[in-house]
């Protein structure tokens, strides 16, 4: 297959050290803030009985999505999973659309036909997930392959949790990507738990990145709560993969700071583990880092928070006023026309 190769290889990236370039810090922080505030509001709506079904939030994991979303180019493809609202927001999903979707409004991206975390925007290269964990991994792999055939040097981002690495579909997808040298970053968000099941019950390897050896690919381990560093790492990785296409396992260590869903009180999580990661809250780390680096002042941070809150409030109010789908449309669109 023909593909364009860039001549220059950023030296730092080849050795795994973060590249020097960084986006405006506020973009990363803004993405994470919008995620946190939107999810807070969604939980409240759920408690008020205004969201049906379930709500699954990513509190504690916002940095991973923000960093990886920012590191990709306009033509790259993403398949976010459950705890990846920051990927959606980072790739341009309006908060308004997220509210519309979760409230089941006909104006939402899935037109009320799917709910909670099952949304996306194919026009922007973001795949909506299905519930079967691992099922999206081979999908984004094939999508990236197709783009590359068209001469577009796309890179794929396939998200999964520690639990999904146990599925057969993960195995099949990674193996397949390896065999065909498909440049997909399998972003494994190791948040310590799959629902109530701790990682000690999920796999036997020392680190999930070790799995890579079995597939003949690279495995990297990173701190999932440090947005700025992670961004630099992934940006470098993306630049490499465009030049030398291949899949990579990127294991980001983090912690799910709430239950599996809003209905789960996660009492099975040991409290000391929770405390350890609370001290490493990704939003706190990002704020501190950006202020320390001089990218933002404390006042600018506070102002940014206000702006984000206002955006979330406005989006929520608007979405609440919009209509649900008309039952008369129930059977439309099961098949594509023509």
């Amino acid at each position: 297959m023909s593909r364009k190769q860039t001549k220059a290889t950023p030296p730092a990236a080849a050795r795994g050290r973060p590249a020097q370039a960084a986006p405006p810090g506020s973009a990363l922080l803004k993405c994470m803030l919008l995620t946190q505030l939107t999810e807070e509001r969604l939980v409240r709506l759920y408690h008020q009985g205004r969201i049906s079904g379930g709500v699954y939030i990513s509190r504690g994991q916002e940095a991973i999505g923000a960093a990886t979303a920012a590191a990709g180019g306009p033509d790259d493809l993403y398949a976010p999973l459950i705890r990846d609202m920051s990927v959606h927001i980072g790739r341009g999903e309006p908060v308004l659309d997220i509210f519309r979707h979760c409230l089941g409004r006909v104006t939402g991206p899935m037109k009320g036909r799917d709910g909670n975390v099952h949304y996306g925007c194919l026009a922007r290269g973001v795949y909506p997930m299905i519930s079967h964990l691992g099922a999206m991994l081979p999908v984004v792999t094939g999508a990236v392959m197709a783009r590359r055939r068209q001469g577009r040097p796309a890179v794929g981002f396939a998200y999964l949790g520690d639990g999904a690495t146990s599925t057969g579909d993960f195995h099949e997808a990674v193996n397949f990507a390896a065999v065909f040298d498909v440049p997909v970053i399998f972003v494994i968000e190791n948040n310590q738990f799959a629902y109530s099941t701790p990682i000690t019950r999920q796999f036997r390897c020392r680190n999930l990145a070790d799995r890579a050896v079995g597939y003949g690919i690279e495995g990297l381990a990173a701190d999932g709560n440090e947005a700025v560093d992670l961004y630099r790492l992934v940006r470098g990785l993306v630049d490499q993969l465009r030049v030398r296409p291949r899949p990579v396992l990127l294991v980001c260590d983090t912690m799910r700071m709430r239950g599996h869903g809003a209905h789960d009180d996660f009492s099975y999580v040991p409290r000391d583990l929770l405390e350890r990661f609370t001290a490493r809250d990704p939003l706190d780390l990002a704020r501190a880092r950006l202020i320390a680096d001089g990218a933002l002042t404390a006042a600018e941070v506070a102002r940014l928070e206000q702006v984000c809150q206002a955006e979330v409030d406005a989006a929520c109010q608007q979405a609440l006023a919009e209509p649900p789908p008309d039952p008369a449309t129930l059977t439309e669109g099961v098949y594509a026309a023509g």
Partner: protein
């Protein structure tokens, strides 16, 4: 004998407890079923009582879960595995269809495994947490399918399913888990698979149904009778495969008008099987065409307004009964 008010999920817990207690070869495994007690708490307390060697959690791997169950079942164990949602069973259906279902036919070796799966909608679960899928399992040779509607039946049938030497899919309606309760005695006996039950007598029409729709049909039949439009029998199939064909035919003989109700999809749904059976063997007893009331061929929608339009309920069953009785 004192009675206790028991929900469907509690009855299932009782059935599992009894199996673990009386049969050392029974083991339970699946996702989050150990200390956590399962996503719906069906296995609550079982690991604590019987230990981790007999009740344990697995990684997320339906194919490995089914595959391991087959291996264990051919080596003298009776594994009862739990799917967190029946929807996820479709990721590993090849293990049930091609492996568990054909083993005895090809080798003479039995596979006494049970797959328990929460199914059904009405809880705004969306497309992947609300499916019924009973028709897929009924289509597999070598596999049995059980689907109780009442707590008493759930525990009694579960024991029989586990003791059956064949692979059995045991469907548990998640809406009914906590929405249906019965006063049950502490002592009880298993009931055999393949026996349907008339849960409401009537002579002007019969509703052939199972699962959550049994309760919707009972409400509709009551309303029809209150209105003086006729008396409607409700036949709860309880086991889909093997089907109690005699009970179905006797019900048709007694009423001569048939309404089939299920919440799974229409085309190729289990109702199609029932309708064909009735047409084949009770043609001469029909005073009206056989009618099916099912969900349309549409993925289960999320928004409550859509799901309500999608899923059959007491009101649409009532309307269908009036149509049928008026024919």
């Amino acid at each position: 004998m004192p009675l206790a008010e028991t929900t469907l999920v509690e009855a299932i817990n009782q059935g599992l407890r009894r199996l673990l207690r009386e049969r050392p070869e029974v083991v339970l495994f699946g996702e989050d079923i150990g200390a956590f007690g399962g996503a719906f708490k069906a296995t609550l307390g079982l690991q604590q009582e019987f230990g981790e060697a007999r009740v344990f959690d697995t990684p997320i791997c339906e194919s490995a879960i089914f595959g391991a169950a087959i291996g264990m079942a051919t080596q003298g164990l009776r594994p009862i595995v739990e799917l967190q949602f029946v929807d996820f069973g479709m990721t590993a259906v090849h293990q049930l269809l091609n492996n568990a279902g054909t083993m005895h036919y090809r080798t003479g070796v039995a596979v006494p495994m049970t797959v328990r799966a929460p199914c059904g909608g009405g809880i705004c679960g969306g497309p992947f947490h609300s499916e019924e899928l009973e028709a897929f399992f009924c289509h597999m040779p070598g596999v049995k399918v059980v689907y109780p509607a009442f707590p008493a039946d759930a525990r009694a049938l579960l024991v029989s399913a586990a003791l059956d030497p064949n692979p059995v899919i045991f469907l548990e309606n998640k809406y009914l888990y906590r929405h249906v309760k019965e006063w049950l005695p502490a002592d009880w006996e298993p009931i055999p698979l393949g026996v349907a039950q008339v849960c409401r007598p009537g002579s002007d029409a019969v509703v052939l149904t199972y699962g959550a729709m049994v309760h919707e049909a009972l409400r509709a039949a009551e309303q029809v009778e209150q209105e003086g439009a006729g008396t409607v029998m409700v036949l709860d199939l309880r086991t889909l495969k093997p089907l109690d064909a005699d009970a179905v035919l006797a019900a048709v003989a007694a009423t001569n008008r048939v309404l089939i109700v299920h919440e799974g999809w229409r085309t190729g749904g289990f109702g199609a099987e029932l309708a064909a059976l009735v047409a084949e063997r009770a043609f001469h007893l029909l005073d009206a065409p056989v009618v099916r009331l099912t969900a349309p061929d549409v993925p289960v929608p999320f928004a409550p307004e859509l799901e309500r339009a999608y899923r059959p309920g007491a009101d649409t069953i009532h309307a269908a009964l009036l149509e049928l009785l008026d024919y």
